[in-house]
Amino acid sequence: MTLHHTHTHMLPVQSRRIFFNVIQMKVALFVPCYVDQFYPQVAIATLELLEKLGVDVVYPESQTCCGQPMANSGFEHLTGGCNDNFVRNFSGYDYIVCPSGSCALHVKDHLHATDEKAAKEIRGKVYELVEFLTDIVKVENLTSRFRHKVGLHQSCHGQRGLKISQMSELVSPPFSKTEQLLHMVQDLELISLKRQDECCGFGGTFCVAEEAVSVKMGIDRVEDHITHGASYITGNDMSCLMHLEGILRRQKSSVKVIHIAEILNSAE
C-alpha cells in the first residue's frame, strides 16, 4: 500500500513537506454509520482531505458502526457482534481516523472484542480527524478557502472526552485544535459565542427520549450562533450538526451546517 507517484507529484508545496512525515502510515478511514447513510459528502471530504495531505488512506468496506447507539442506551452487552466486526475491519493499521469525536471516543473508551488484544491496539490507534491532523500529520498550513462567517460548535465528546479543545469549566490555559485548523482557512471569519462550549442536546437516543429538552437545547445553541452572525455552523461531529440542521431547517433559517472536513477540503 504505497502512494502512486502521480499523487506525490500533484501535491501542493506545503503538503509535500508533510508527505515525508506521513509516508509510512497505513491509515484506515472509519466512517460513522449515520455519516455513511446521510452525509456521504462528509466522508468524501475527509477522504479527499487526507489524500491531499499525502496520507495513504483506505476505507475498509465491511465496517458498520462503533456500537455507541446501543452502549449509550445501556446495552453495551449487546455490542459484541458489532465490536468484532469493527476489529475485523480495523486491525493492522497504524492509525484509524474518524470524522467524529463521539465515535472515536466511544471506540477509545469502550471497544472490547473476542480478540481483545486487537481491540486494545485499536483503542490506542483511533483518532478523530482534527486531532489526527494537528497531532500526527502536524498540518501547518492548508490551501483551503471558505468565504463565510462561521460559528464553531464544540461537540462534547470530542472536546471533553478527547480534549480537542480546552473546556470552559477548567482553570487551565486555552487551546483549540479545531480553531488551529480553521485559522489556516483563507477568508474564513470565526465568530465568538456567548456560551462557547454548551452541549447542543443531541445526546444519541436522548434526542428522541428527551425530545423537549433536546430540542430546547438545540434551539438555544442555534440562537447563540445566529445572534453572533454565523452563516455556517461547523463542528467535528455531524450528529450534533444533524440535530442543529433539523432545527434550522424547521425554522426556515438560511444558516447552514457544515462539517469541518468539508471546510478544510473546500477551495471555493
Binding site: M1, V31, C33, D36, Q37, F38, Y39, P40, I44, L47, V58, Y59, P60, E61, T64, P69, M70, A71, S73, G74, F75, E76, H77, L78, T79, G80, G81, C82, D84, N85, C156, H157, R160, M167, E169, L170, V171, D197, C199, G201, F202, G203, G204, T205, F206, C207, V208, A209, E210, E211, A212, V213, K216, M217, G218, D220, H243, G246, I247, R250
Partner: protein, 463 residues
C-alpha cells in the same frame, strides 16, 4: 420511599410548555455557573485543589470505618451523644425520640439534604411535630408545600413576584409587594418568633472532623447558628461520608465549597460545633442509608465524595431546562441522577438517561466525581436488571443484529436509511419524536460506501 408518578422526560416536557420560564430558569442558573467560573479563576491552583480534595476523599472512603470510630470517640469525649442509623426510618425514629424526650412539638431546622433524603419533615409531621425550615429558600418551598428544586438554592424556580404572593397568603405581607429586601425582612420577622420559642434545633453537617469530633455547618444566613444557640437541644444529622480526617483539610474543602456553589469566596458563616454549651445537649445522628453498600461498588463509590455544592446542577444544560422537580428526588441534577438509583433502582431508572453525557458536570465537580461516566455505567446496570421498556429493548436488539452484519447493514441502509427506520421504534411513538420540532436529514443519492466502491475501488485503488 415516595413513588414516582411520572418520568423525567414527561415532566421536562411539561416544564418546557412555558418557554419564557425555561429561558429565565436557564439564564438564572447559568449566571451562577459564570460566577463560579470567575471565583475559580481567582485561584491559580484551583485544579490542584480539586485533585487534593478528591484524594482526601479517597483516603476517607478507604478508611471510613476507622475515621468514623475516631470521630465517635472524640465527639463523645466532647460530651456529644452519638447515634447510628442504618437507614432513613431509623434516622427519623432517633430524631423523633430525642424530640419526644424533651416534650417538644415545635422545632426549627436549618438546611440538611440528609433530612430531605430521609423525608424527616413528613415523618415528624405525622407524629404531631411541626418543623419550620429556617433557611429562607427552604421556608419558601415549605410554605408552598413543595420539595426543594436545588440543593443549594431550594427555591431557584420561584420568581420574586410569586414569592410576594406566597408571603401575602401565608405571612400577611401586602399584596403585590415583590421587593426582595422587604420580603426578606418579613421572613426574618416571621422566623425570629420561631427561633425564640424553639427548644430543639436540627442542623445538617457539611464536614465532620474525625480528629476533633467537631462538625462544621456552612450557611449564608446564620440560621443554623441562631437555631442552635437559642435551643436547649441541638440535633445534627449527617451521612457517614461527611467525614474529613483533620481540621486542616477544611482549608481545602471550604475554599472549594462556596466557590463551586455560588461563586462566593466562602459562605458567610462556617460554624464549628464541637461541644454543647453548659445546659445544652448535643446529638449527632450518623446515617448509612445505602452508603456502605455503595462503598463496595467500584463503579459508583466515588459519588460518596460529594460535598453537595450543586455546581453540577448549575452547569447541567438538561437540569437548567427541565427544573429540579423533574428529577423527583431530594437531590436533583447530575449528582442526584447517580445517587437516586442506588437507593431505589426501579423508581429512579429514568434519571441516568436524563443526560446527554456531555461531561460538564464532571469538570465542575470540586471533588472530581466522574459523574457522566457513572451515568453511563448506571444505564448498563439498569438495563441488565430489566429496568427498560420491552419496546426499547426490542429496538436495540434489532440494531445489534444489523450492525453486526455488514451485508444486512448495507441492505437495510439502502432499503430505506435504517437510521430513520429504527430510531422511532426505540421510543415507541405513534409519531416520530425527531420530526416533532426538527426536519429529518435529507436522504442522499448514495451512501458513502456505495460512492467509495464506485469512485475509488473501481478506479483501481485496492484496500
Amino acid at each position: 420511599m415516595e413513588q414516582k408518578t411520572s418520568d423525567h422526560a414527561i415532566l421536562a416536557d411539561k416544564f418546557n410548555q412555558d418557554i419564557p420560564r425555561v429561558d429565565w430558569h436557564d439564564k438564572t442558573l447559568w449566571f451562577i455557573r459564570e460566577k463560579r467560573d470567575k471565583a475559580a479563576w481567582q485561584i491559580a491552583e484551583w485544579e490542584e485543589l480539586r485533585e487534593l480534595a478528591s484524594q482526601i476523599k479517597n483516603n476517607v472512603l478507604d478508611n471510613l470505618h476507622d475515621y468514623l470510630l475516631e470521630f465517635e470517640k472524640q465527639a463523645q469525649q466532647n460530651g456529644v451523644t452519638i447515634h447510628w442509623a442504618a437507614n432513613a426510618e431509623e434516622h427519623n425514629c432517633i430524631v423523633h425520640s430525642i424530640i419526644q424526650q424533651h416534650g417538644v412539638t415545635d422545632i426549627v431546622k436549618s438546611k440538611s439534604m440528609l433530612t430531605e433524603e430521609c423525608h424527616l419533615n413528613e415523618y415528624l409531621q405525622k407524629q404531631g411535630i411541626t418543623v419550620v425550615d429556617t433557611d429562607l429558600g427552604e421556608r419558601i418551598v415549605q410554605l408552598a408545600g413543595e420539595p426543594p428544586s436545588h440543593i443549594v438554592l431550594p427555591c431557584i424556580h420561584w420568581k420574586k413576584e410569586e414569592i410576594g404572593e406566597l408571603f401575602h397568603q401565608h405571612l400577611g405581607t401586602p399584596k403585590g409587594n415583590a421587593d426582595p429586601q422587604f420580603l426578606t425582612a418579613a421572613a426574618r420577622e416571621h422566623l425570629r418568633q420561631r427561633f425564640l420559642t424553639s427548644r430543639v434545633a436540627i442542623t445538617g453537617v457539611n464536614f465532620a472532623v474525625a480528629e476533633t469530633g467537631e462538625i462544621v455547618v456552612c450557611t449564608n444566613e446564620g440560621n443554623a447558628d441562631l437555631g442552635v444557640q437559642l435551643a436547649e437541644v441541638h440535633i445534627a444529622c449527617m451521612g457517614i461520608e461527611k467525614i474529613i480526617p483533620q481540621r486542616k483539610h477544611l482549608g481545602i474543602f471550604l475554599r472549594l465549597l462556596a466557590r463551586s456553589a455560588t461563586g462566593q469566596p466562602i459562605t458567610t458563616y462556617s460554624s464549628h460545633f464541637r461541644k454543647p454549651r453548659p445546659g445544652q445537649t448535643m446529638h449527632i445522628v450518623l446515617v448509612d442509608n445505602g452508603r456502605s453498600e455503595r462503598l463496595q461498588q467500584e463503579s459508583f463509590r466515588n459519588a460518596l465524595k460529594c460535598i453537595r455544592c450543586g455546581a453540577c446542577m448549575n452547569t447541567c444544560p438538561v437540569y437548567r431546562r427541565s427544573g429540579g422537580h423533574s428529577y423527583q428526588y431530594a437531590i436533583a441534577g447530575p449528582i442526584g441522577s447517580i445517587l437516586a438509583p442506588s437507593l431505589d433502582m426501579k423508581n429512579h431508572a429514568d434519571l441516568p438517561f436524563a443526560s446527554t453525557l456531555c461531561g460538564s458536570c464532571t469538570n465542575v465537580c470540586p471533588v472530581k466525581i466522574n459523574i457522566h461516566e457513572q451515568l453511563y455505567d448506571w444505564r448498563q446496570v439498569l438495563v441488565k436488571n430489566g429496568h427498560v421498556s420491552s419496546v426499547k429493548a426490542a429496538g436495540i436488539n434489532g440494531m445489534a443484529v444489523v450492525l453486526s452484519r455488514p451485508a444486512i447493514y448495507r441492505i437495510a441502509g439502502a432499503a430505506g436509511r435504517w437510521f430513520m427506520k429504527y430510531i422511532p421504534a426505540i421510543v415507541n411513538n405513534k409519531f416520530n419524536p425527531w420530526y416533532k420540532q426538527r426536519e429529518m436529514p435529507a436522504v442522499p443519492k448514495q451512501s458513502f460506501n456505495e460512492w467509495y466502491r464506485q469512485n475509488r475501488k473501481e478506479n483501481g485503488k485496492q484496500s
